[in-house]
């Protein structure tokens, strides 16, 4: 981390000013003349046949310009075929809009275009849909029952993905084990809830036969590929522009049906079409996540060493596959062993369709991974009456064992799990905390400590996608240009939604080039300007995006130095550098200014190319692609100390500590912001968020008054202990981060509450840990122990 001049600096964000003064330009702030407003009529039923749709009355309403049903859209756009050639995954298809059947409450059945949003919503009330309600499937267990109605009638059953694995010796280890510890984990269905909902603005240019599509999307280029294909257009007929995004968290990756419909209708009506999703739609019908249940079985020896681990995961994926069904749960199974020495391992991952909103990746798509591993270690400790920290130490790989190839072929390298474990425990003063706990337990106070070691998969390389059997590429691309005036423009195929790329990625460019970060302008979110990249997903921004920008800038810096060397009559560019936009020369070990600035070199490169060294192209522009390693990892240990109020079920989080190693931070202030934000999202999901469906498949949590995001009162002060060490195989040693905080928070809080409840003989195995849920648990325990 030493030796950098821009990377690693705590620079304040360049993007802040426009957001602080109300000048940000989010999707709904973009004005288009003659624009029509789209509104979607949605199904009130979880599962029903559409017999007929009568929109005559709606169409007569003044200001209504059209009402379109699934059958109309089917003629304008192609379905989404989700059929990657993956063993155990069934192919599915999603029509532009449902034609003959709705599959969840909130499924769109018709779209109204009107002069304003108020009129469009009026019109929706005038549409008569004749539904034939069908029995709904609302849980994983129901979905797999032989008599279950089929969510997707093109499939044999509701089991959309099923994959398993076992090492050859695993069954025998279990058969011969003297002790087997079993634990169950139930994760709650949650949703991303960005404060800016979804939306889009589609502008069709009939003369040029070109679609300009504004949408707050994290991965504009892959989005463009899909949008063009589904409209039957070429990729040169579509420009996707992502404006400022008011939060995304994984919800703004897929091409949704509402967006496709707006694009198709802008083309059909030759008028701009916009859609602004309301909050009820966002909570009911955008995308959900994380409804998983898992049972772990650990075969252990007398000291608590894990001899074999078996993990069975069930995931409720909802009604539609906007992502392959195995996309999330399978990776949980691959990553669960984490930093522990587990040689025999088996997993079984089953994913079912139900009549609920479709699931997708949400910040920390593999959120459950750390909780199930660390919860299992706690269960082992409880079984042996051992200290949970000691059980971790006993099983954890040591620094000298690195690089360590896990039983699922993940190569762990340049990680420091043992260091962060000890770092976090020391920061807490673990012995003192246990002493507090003993004293409180003697007084009947439910104090608990939770530890969660996280190994966060950050940057997914192409090799990982290939070997894990999920579609995708991990490379990233960048273009860095020094313009004739010396101004620096840098483009990359990512898109920001709050991460501070305009600052952190400018630091990567500034470092590679040798200029002040404030002079670097980042160009992202426009598919005509930025090179084709894979977008912002996972925690790849810093490693893949920052990495490729750094490499491209270094290459451009070399060209600049080559030109400068010729101007100065030098042979060796190693004696030259660019610093703060000036060319400097090393003389007797010290850097001294030369007569040249970056602007002088740029002027020669563009306007006086005959002066360039032979063989050098005019201009200052580098295009670069970078393929990261198969996987990069950050690691952290989260420690949480809670007191559970037995009478109210309320959890008071007294301490929350994260000791984290996420490699070279591009900007430590932004890294800390991401870490704390991720922990808050994890805690919020654990404490209060819950997408609740009743038995008929009615969503009961479609306002923020029912779907509870934690506020500043519930989220505690989070203490960050930076313990960064570089990754030796990535540019600048970057590892990436921003999802591990979610994983650690779920594990640390759930383990802490579990620890607090131990004297009552009960286990907190189902999230969320709301006061109501905890109170119910505690009441059963107290009743059981009553004489």
């Amino acid at each position: 981390m030493s030796g950098f001049s821009s990377i690693g600096k705590r620079l304040l964000r360049f993007e802040d000013r426009r957001f602080l003064t109300g000048q940000g330009a989010y999707l709904d702030d973009i004005v288009a003349p003659r624009c029509l407003h789209a509104h979607f009529l949605r199904s009130p039923h979880a599962h029903a046949r559409i017999r007929a749709i009568d929109a005559r009355e709606a169409a007569w309403l003044p200001g209504v310009r059209g009402v379109y049903r699934g059958a109309d859209l089917a003629a304008m756009a192609k379905p989404l075929r989700m059929a990657p050639p993956i063993e155990g995954l069934k192919p599915t298809e999603i029509a532009p809009l449902p034609v003959d059947k709705v599959r969840f409450q909130g499924d769109p059945v018709a779209v109204i275009l009107a002069d304003d949003r108020y009129i469009a919503e009026d019109a929706a009330e005038l549409i008569a849909v004749d539904y034939e309600p069908l029995p709904a499937v609302t849980s994983f267990a129901e979905a797999l029952s032989p008599s279950a109605p089929k969510v997707d009638e093109t499939l044999d059953d509701n089991l959309v993905a099923h994959q398993s694995f076992a090492t050859p010796g695993c069954a025998r280890v279990f058969a011969e084990a003297r002790r087997i510890v079993t634990r169950r984990f139930v994760q709650n269905r949650v949703t991303h809830a960005p404060i800016e909902t979804r939306g889009c603005l589609a502008i069709w240019d009939e003369g040029r036969q070109h679609l300009t599509f504004h949408v707050g999307n994290q991965a504009p280029h892959p989005y463009r590929t899909q949008l063009a294909a589904r409209l039957g257009l070429s990729e040169s007929q579509v420009t996707v522009i992502a404006p400022d995004i008011g939060g995304a968290f994984g919800q703004k990756i897929a091409l949704y049906r509402e967006e496709l419909a707006c694009a198709a209708l802008a083309r059909a009506t030759r008028r701009p079409v916009r859609w602004r999703e309301d909050r009820m739609e966002n909570l009911a019908a955008a995308s959900h996540a994380r409804e998983d249940a898992c049972v772990t079985r650990a075969a252990i020896d007398a000291q608590g060493r894990i001899l074999a681990l078996d993990v069975a995961i069930e995931e409720d994926f909802g009604a539609y596959c906007f992502f392959p069904g195995n996309y999330l749960a399978r990776v949980v199974a691959l990553m669960t062993p984490g930093p522990y020495r587990i040689r025999d391992y088996a997993y079984d991952v089953r994913v079912a369709l139900t009549n609920k909103c479709g699931a997708g990746p949400m910040r920390a798509p593999m959120s459950m991974t750390s909780w199930i591993m660390e919860g299992t270690l706690d269960a082992i400790a409880a079984e042996l009456d051992a200290d949970p920290a000691d059980i971790r130490r006993l099983n954890m790989i040591e620094a000298r064992e690195l690089p360590y190839v896990t039983v699922t072929d993940q190569r762990l390298e340049d990680i420091t799990p043992r260091e962060t474990l000890e770092g976090a425990l020391a920061h807490l003063d673990y012995a003192a905390a246990r002493a507090r706990q003993r004293a409180d337990r003697a007084r009947g106070i439910l104090r608990g400590l939770g530890i969660c070691v996280v190994v966060e998969s950050t940057t997914y390389g192409s090799a990982f996608y290939k070997s894990a059997g999920i579609p995708g590429s991990g490379h990233e691309t960048a273009v860095v240009k020094v313009e004739p005036s010396g101004a620096v423009n840098a483009a990359v195929g990512l898109m920001a939604s709050g991460q501070g790329y305009e600052t952190a990625l400018a630091q990567a460019v500034a470092e590679g080039l040798g200029v002040d970060p404030a002079t670097v302008r980042l160009q992202i979110g426009n598919t005509d300007v930025a090179p084709y990249g894979m977008g912002s997903r996972g925690a790849r921004g810093a490693t893949a995006g920052g990495g490729v920008l750094y490499l491209a800038s270094q290459a451009l810096g070399e060209k600049i130095r080559t030109i400068a060397a010729r101007e100065l009559g030098l042979n060796d560019i190693g004696e030259l550098r660019l610093a703060a936009g000036r060319i400097e020369r090393r003389l007797a070990g010290a850097w001294e200014a030369t007569r040249l600035s970056l602007t002088d070199v740029a002027r020669i490169a563009y306007l006086d190319p005959l002066r360039l060294p032979p063989g050098l192209e005019p201009g200052l522009e580098v295009h670069k692609a970078y393929e990261p390693p198969a996987m990069t990892f950050s690691n952290a240990t989260h420690v949480c100390e809670v007191v559970v109020d037995a009478r109210s079920g309320r959890i008071a989080i007294e301490r929350y500590i994260v000791a984290e190693d996420c490699g070279t931070p591009l900007n430590p202030m932004l890294v800390e912001g991401q870490q704390i934000g991720a922990v808050a999202m994890g805690l919020s999901g654990c404490l209060s968020e819950h997408v609740v469906y009743d038995r008929d498949g009615q969503n009961l949590s479609t306002t923020f008054a029912d779907y509870h995001l934690a506020t500043a009162v519930e989220i505690p002060h989070i203490e960050i202990v930076p313990m960064h060490t570089p990754n030796r195989s990535t540019p600048a040693g970057v590892k990436g981060m921003s999802e591990g905080g979610v994983m650690g928070a779920i594990g640390a809080l759930a383990n802490a509450v579990d620890d607090a409840l131990r004297p009552l003989g009960i286990r907190a195995e189902a999230l969320p840990l709301t006061p109501i849920a905890l109170r119910r648990l505690i009441r059963t325990a107290t009743r059981r122990s009553a004489p």
């Binding site: 003064t21 109300g22 709904d28 702030d29 404060i195 800016e196 939060g247 500043a712 009162v713």
Partner: protein
């Protein structure tokens, strides 16, 4: 629906409009007055993103009809940085990294600008309680709390 005339007094400027009585203040401010710093996050009064000041007091613009605002003075985020200089709270949010995506920021700035006037020396518990009317999905609130503390300190030093 029949439109009615209403004059909105926003950030010291007068807007003579003809609006449907059902038109939300949030929509009128954004679309008729062009003040897109008023962000719409839930239209339910929960998230706080659309908060503006009405006669100096914070209010959810999504829970008010624009036609109710005749004779009231409205202030939006666009009026806070006077003469282009960030207010102490805006500056503190910048320095403490108190915003990420920025969508919730204008609303909570409006609430806390007014709150700090009545609470010049708040402690952390009070700040967190005051912030609890605003949902932020990015920051975990910690840096916002720090920014409010810093802004209060700066304002006290200036006073």
């Amino acid at each position: 629906m029949k439109r009615v005339p209403v004059t909105l007094d926003v950030n010291g400027e007068s807007h003579a409009l003809s609006l449907e009585p059902r038109r939300l203040l949030s929509d009128a401010l954004r679309e008729e007055c062009g003040l897109t710093g008023v962000h719409v996050g839930c239209e339910n009064g929960v998230c706080g993103a659309c908060t503006v000041l009405i006669d100096g007091a914070p209010a959810r613009a999504c829970l008010i009809f624009a036609v109710q605002m005749q004779g009231h003075a409205i202030a939006t985020i666009e009026s806070v940085a006077r003469g282009g200089a960030l207010s102490p709270l805006q500056q503190a949010l910048h320095e403490e990294h108190g915003l990420q995506c920025g969508f919730c920021t204008p609303g909570l700035v409006m609430t806390m600008e007014a709150w700090l006037k009545d609470n010049p020396d708040p402690d952390e518990t009070a700040i967190r309680a005051a912030l609890s009317g605003h949902l932020c999905r990015c920051t975990g609130y910690q840096s916002i709390v720090a920014a409010v503390k810093r802004a209060a300190r700066i304002a006290r030093e200036r006073a």
